[in-house]
Symmetry: C2
């Protein structure tokens, strides 16, 4: 690798509730969450899986669908964002894996970036202030159900990165 | 058909936002909803698709996953419910069709039951007070993302039906 090609190379690790806890919630069926039978025994309810946090400054929760186009591989991370006034939840609707790129709240630090690969049955809920990349669909055009905040005030800070940051496509 | 076999037989019709409007919202990608490009042109946002209504009596929105087992065919409708204090949204996570059985708000009237078949890319949001059957998965065990209300007060009225009501399985 020449000097000019140097930069940060990130390798995705599998998404889990424990590893993602500093950044938000993982929305999934797992034994460790409260669950119980309802509907005459025909439905298992996995209960209250995300900390929705949207009420700041007269905010309210809204539901949208994001239809996302995969980026070219290898994926280059050039832009990060955070929502200071509310959480933002993404649930995949097509059972296709996708990437989740995050960094801790507070002053952005590229050396603290983490990349997770979500299986197609896992959603994520970014807590307010968590730095994250936008939706990184893989394989094909992918729909996500999104729960985020509508309301007054600036709720999106964006940061253009000047370092070369690539996601290792071999995972 | 003998006298004893008589009863109500319901035939599902395709779910659409227009037909479902008296009961709630259809959550789907369609041209008629507000949508626009975000994320450097890589994502289409279909914006604010459901009227979430969960704040009554100190309620709050929660996110759960319902894992539903299909009922035996032909499906018999014996139990209806309504949530007087909040909306309840179901979004399928496995792209599999399912049935939606509803009746208008107010005093329950079996002669006003409607059955819709949702394609696997359509969610529904029952408005507060709409009578509905619980989740009617088809084909296989199916997961749904659910957004409903947590909070004080009784938010579930159930009604056992004494008429024989079957859903025509030939649709």
């Amino acid at each position: 690798m020449t000097e000019q090609q140097a930069g940060i190379k990130l390798t995705p690790i599998p998404l889990s509730a424990e590893a993602f806890a500093p950044f938000g919630d993982v929305i999934e069926v797992r034994e460790s969450v409260q669950h119980y039978l309802i509907n005459e025994g025909n439905t298992l309810r996995y209960h209250d899986l995300a900390q929705l946090d949207v009420a700041a400054e007269d905010g309210r929760a809204i539901v949208s669908i994001f239809r996302s186009t995969p980026l070219a591989q290898p994926i280059s991370i050039k832009l990060m964002e955070r929502h200071p006034l509310g959480s933002q939840l993404f649930m995949p609707l097509c059972e296709t894996p996708y990437l989740v790129v995050v960094a801790p709240k507070g002053e952005f630090d590229a050396s603290k970036l983490s990349v997770f690969i979500a299986n197609g049955e896992q959603g994520v809920n970014y807590h307010a202030g968590t730095w994250h990349h936008y939706c990184l669909a893989l394989e094909h055009l992918s729909d996500f159900l999104v729960i985020d905040r509508a309301g007054p005030g600036n709720n999106c800070d964006q940061l253009q990165l000047d370092e070369q940051i690539l996601i290792n496509p071999d995972y």
